[in-house]
Symmetry: C2
Subunit: 431 residues, 2 copies
Amino acid sequence: MTAPGYRIVRMETHDVRFPTSRDLDGSDAMNPDPDYSAAYVVLTTDDGFEGHGFAFTIGRGNDVQTAAISALEPYVIGRDVEDLGALYKDMVDDSQLRWLGPEKGVMHMAISAVVNALWDLRAKREGKPVWLLLSEMTPEQIVGLVDFRYLSDALTPEQALDILRRAEDGKQERISRLRAEGYPAYTTSPGWLGYDDDKLRRLCKEALDEGFGQIKLKVGADLEDDRRRFSVAREVCGPDFPIAIDANQRWDVASAIEWIGALREFDPHWVEEPTSPDDVLGHAAIAEGVRPVPIATGEHVQNRIVFKQLLQAGAISYLQIDSARVGGVNENIAILLLAARFGIPVCPHAGGVGLCELVQHLSMFDYVAVSGSTDGRVIEYVDHLHEHFVTPVVIDNGRYVTPTAPGFSAEMHPESIAAHSFPGGEVWKDA
Amino acid sequence: MTAPGYRIVRMETHDVRFPTSRDLDGSDAMNPDPDYSAAYVVLTTDDGFEGHGFAFTIGRGNDVQTAAISALEPYVIGRDVEDLGALYKDMVDDSQLRWLGPEKGVMHMAISAVVNALWDLRAKREGKPVWLLLSEMTPEQIVGLVDFRYLSDALTPEQALDILRRAEDGKQERISRLRAEGYPAYTTSPGWLGYDDDKLRRLCKEALDEGFGQIKLKVGADLEDDRRRFSVAREVCGPDFPIAIDANQRWDVASAIEWIGALREFDPHWVEEPTSPDDVLGHAAIAEGVRPVPIATGEHVQNRIVFKQLLQAGAISYLQIDSARVGGVNENIAILLLAARFGIPVCPHAGGVGLCELVQHLSMFDYVAVSGSTDGRVIEYVDHLHEHFVTPVVIDNGRYVTPTAPGFSAEMHPESIAAHSFPGGEVWKDA
């Protein structure tokens, strides 16, 4: 029996788009003109509690993404909020929906949005931020949230339990430290391809002044431009400052090795998305070809099965989870556990719309209850669109301030949703 | 300038579903109750020529798939039918839509449907079946249809040209032979999990009587059932008859090796989809663990990049293309070329709704212009739903009869579309 107040009675979706292409914010080698968008979902319980979630897209197709979320309505309505594990499995394993993936692309991102909304709802009911709600679970409860299908050659439930039990030690101390000090961030704001050298220089300086311990530059459109921009950033930041670069899947294997070779004198902290996110063996060949330059990927990796292989193949030195592409919190827990098992640090992808807001909770949970460490770990930060959220991320001296508000920090202001609704919202009416 | 009659002026979509779950047709270990469905698209030119295409799904979510096809309308309207290569690239490389994949899942299947409809249209205009239209192209024209991005570590345009030029020799002879003899087929009709032993025995006998040279059984739900059913089929078909088995992604790596080990005494011709279609390294480990039992996969492989890796890793002995999951004819040409480069025979997945109709053209093109051989090659055949097509496949003595009608054999009868439209069609009204 579902207790009063725990039954989901309504699902509402919104196609929300921000016209970011007008200013070249977010421009990179593969995404020259994104309009950062959210296929947004609100779940409501019988006593009016709300859970908010979304899939992030970059414009066209956000209507399809929103329709995919709506298709999940029959799975959610009438269900118990506490029944999250079973509900997650019901959506992922539905034999008919599964054909549309399995576990990838539009349908999987839709599940992600709904699962994250369920976590927002559950955390609000418990009066806790998601990172804390997760961190206070027992190892057994956490393992119960994970779908181990297709993982057992790399991670069994028993091995996951071992990892989580080891992290029980010092948990309270890490929670206290997190509350006092926050979590380290890096910024991509200086590095978008559409910016000129003066703007790059100015933004690098600002990043240093603001206390960030790392920045990232987009590369991959033109090698000479990349060399010039990297040397500008290196000059401003100094020889020892970590500067990562991000090719956004621009290269084939051989061209990646060649291009990275031409940039290695600038000492990239990591090279992100050198090629297709589907190409495990390609990433492994690139890592081998540019060693010891570290390779990173993950924002477009479709699910835990591909992450498993990237780790098995020794293809990546940093694993970059995304909060809203794989099957939400539940699948990301599997990925955090895989990374811990292979000893690879997780440095999440963020930016977009609300991705910083969501993913901070996962990194903080990783620190408290999984890896137990922030060494070599940073969460991406991009300084835009936070004003649309009710409890936006707060950055202080280059660190994410640990959220205290109940929920997943996922809720957008109703006025923001209304103004940016596509195509009827006021922002789009004149376009 | 687009010549009159070559400009696309209309796109129309239909959510078409067949209630196949009522009879357990198509039941397997992962798909117990599919309702075979088509997200169907019709493109019309300014002089009324029509191209038909579809994405195949198994029921729920077919509305999302149909919406994804509709989202491609702006890319197609006003375009020239002859401009197919550029149009394909525009859809696949659209920087905003790309975020929804890239090149996988619902959005990629939508592109597949549109691309295949364009080929249907083009072939009808030329008055030729698609297999012949493709076979008569020059190697340079064929290579011009392929997107080599992310393939160059396994297949370059020059290597593709070499393969195609080698196959120029004897092309006319193979066309003649194909017209006279057709292409070998195997049947899955006896092997669905939902059937009892008597029905299995009867259908095995029928398959032999009908001249099929291979059958396939679904396995993976219960080992003792599998052993019993396999022994029934072996008894009916005899010790040397090729019987493939298909687990539909049911296993993890270790359980696959164990389960296959328990069935190898029945001499499986291949083991299909032992695990997740995303798990290249898993397939390689299984192939290694059960050698020399051949592993096959492909119907759920999302794109050419994953096929590339399956071949690079030596994970499969048979490659199973699907006509409507990857980016349509164009991406399937890339996959046929990859298979030829690695010397792996292509044995397509078919069945569903209209998949036999489409994929026969690709295997016939493979025979005439790519691999030049039918050795070890068979196209799957399932005997249902063909009556809904205007030019259904014809099977004669266990072989696909080579199609002669112009187009891609993709067109459904208007009455079938109307009766099975979901949820308003007469078949669904009473459900």
